[in-house]
């Protein structure tokens, strides 16, 4: 009886010991693998961030180029908050809270001064970039536009020539379509997640977004802009409860800004990037104004008047670029023309150019 009891205890204890040891080893390896997986994801996100930073940096330096970039399977989240923006009227180091994040890893790249027009989320394995120079009238910066394969740009043709012009200049690589206004109801989602409607001089209250588009995505992924070339104004709309609602409007100076509005998901994102652009604009205007002063001090009599800041429009440009507002945009319009004429006059009089 005693021998059987002892044997029974020995055997049971052995198996219990094996189970405990086995479980401990298994848990150890599971934790190790889990940590390695997180580490590998972070590594990949850091690599993507570094590569993208170089790509965006390089892309933004070349003018009027469009590129297609292969991405590993991940989602990019773009953020630019206009409420956090500062300008030169309040700070010597104006910037905006702006970044792009790789997936849900928390790995992000801050872009406080870079001008990137992009939707909130880009997913898929291809990224498209396009740049246009912003000349107002001198070159300030290149606007970098970014999009993915799941964003559809729908140019609504209501007979206005401007919509055709915008559509034709839009890169072919990007997911664009020109749709007659009476055929909007026949639009299909075709696997896209973001839908941007572009109108020119249209009555937006009469537009019905087709049901098949609404049901294919979230409402915040459907938005529109209405461009009014005669007023030089862009109206932004967001989709809410089966119709497009007006969210705000902003004036513009040139075509690259219209494309910026096309690529931005909402007015806030657009304003944020335009504020960054205006910060650059202000600094470059100051450089050119100071250069103009040097030219004034060393110019011949017939050239001197061209270089006066107050006459050639540079003083007004410096002042109007302190902050990005509708009022300042409207003031800039005439100053830009004045500076353009002054530069032309310098060329005609064989004087050094202002810019």
């Amino acid at each position: 009886m005693e021998k059987r009891k002892r044997g029974a205890i020995d055997v049971s204890f052995n198996w219990i010991f094996v189970l405990i040891a086995g479980a401990a080893i298994l848990i150890f390896f599971i934790v190790l693998i889990s940590n390695q997986k997180d580490s590998a994801e972070s590594n990949m996100a850091i690599t993507i961030r570094t590569e993208l930073s170089s790509v965006f940096s390089g892309a933004s330096l070349s003018q009027d180029r469009n590129l297609e970039i292969d991405l590993p399977k991940s989602t990019l989240h773009f953020t630019c908050d206009f409420a956090t923006c500062t300008d030169f009227s309040t700070s010597n180091n104006p910037n905006c809270y702006s970044q792009y994040e790789i997936g849900e890893t928390g790995i992000n790249e801050q872009t406080p001064t870079e001008i990137l027009f992009a939707p909130f989320d880009i997913s898929g394995q291809k990224l498209f970039t396009w740049t246009l120079p912003w000349n107002v009238p001198f070159f300030v910066t290149n606007f970098l536009y970014i999009s993915g394969t799941t964003t559809k740009f729908i140019f609504v043709d209501n007979g206005q020539s401007e919509i055709l012009s915008l559509y034709n200049k839009f890169p072919e690589r990007l997911n664009k379509e020109l749709v007659p206004i009476n055929l909007i109801s026949e639009l299909q989602p075709e696997g896209n997640k973001n839908f941007k409607f572009i109108f020119v001089n249209n009555e937006i209250s009469e537009i019905d977004i087709p049901e098949q588009i609404i049901s294919s995505t979230e409402s915040y992924n459907i938005n529109a802009i209405n461009i009014k070339p005669s007023l030089k104004q862009i109206d932004f709309y967001y989709f809410d409860e089966e119709k497009l609602d007006f969210s705000g409007s902003i004036s513009y100076l040139s075509e690259p800004e219209i494309y910026g509005a096309i690529f931005s998901n909402n007015l806030d994102f657009y304003n944020c990037n335009m504020q960054k652009a205006y910060n650059r604009y202000h600094l470059i205007a100051r450089v050119i104004a100071e250069r103009s002063t040097y030219l004034y001090n060393n110019a011949d009599i017939e050239c001197k008047s061209i270089y006066s800041e107050n006459i050639n429009g540079l003083a007004a440009i410096k002042s109007a670029t302190l902050s990005f507002t509708n009022q300042n945009i409207n003031l800039l319009g005439s100053s830009i023309s004045t500076l353009g004429y002054a530069n032309q006059a310098a060329q005609e009089k064989s004087c050094p150019l202002i810019y």
């Binding site: 930073s53 940096s57 010597n92 910037n95 001198f138 300030v140 450089v287 030219l295």
Partner: protein, 161 residues
């Protein structure tokens, strides 16, 4: 006797486990050493890439480059713009730091005269840096139609790792 045998068997099992975990430990130490070296190399690569990006940005900086209305001349610095930029960048160091990072930008004329380096911008510095030299044309618009010289743009990108 039987007790001793059982105890020896248990001791055997424990010894096996101890050896196993020791091997695992050494293996992990070796792996982490390799990973650590790889990380250092990756950081160095990232810094070098960043310095090239910054050099490219500065090369195409609108505050410096030669323009003729809408036409841009590449690898060319406008002498008067450079003078203005040197003054303006002093008041806006923090802003340009977010554009270039921690960088020192200088230029010098090399032909027809050899001059000392003139400072254009200086951000926070450190003992570690990567230097890029870019040959450029230096354009002085005065007197009309202007004059070109050959210069060298020196960009020191400071690293803090």
């Amino acid at each position: 006797m039987k007790n001793k045998k059982a105890q020896m068997k248990m001791g055997e099992t424990i010894a096996v486990l101890v050896v196993f975990f020791m091997l695992l430990f050494f293996g992990l130490m070796f792996y982490s050493k390799i990973q650590s070296n790889q990380i250092k190399e990756t950081v160095q690569e990232i810094e070098e890439k960043a310095s090239i990006d910054v050099a490219q940005k500065i090369q195409f900086l609108p505050e410096l480059k030669c323009t003729s209305a809408d036409v841009t001349r590449s690898l060319c610095i406008d002498f008067l713009k450079a003078k203005s930029f040197a003054n303006i960048s002093k008041d806006n160091t923090a802003y340009y730091q977010s554009v270039f990072g921690s960088t020192k930008i200088e230029y010098a004329e090399v032909y027809p005269l050899l001059t000392n380096y003139t400072l254009l911008y200086e951000g926070p510095s450190s003992n570690n840096y990567l230097t890029t030299f870019i040959p450029v044309s230096l354009f002085n618009p005065i007197p009309y139609p202007g004059r070109y010289k050959i210069g060298l743009l020196k960009i020191k990108y400071y690293t803090f790792t």
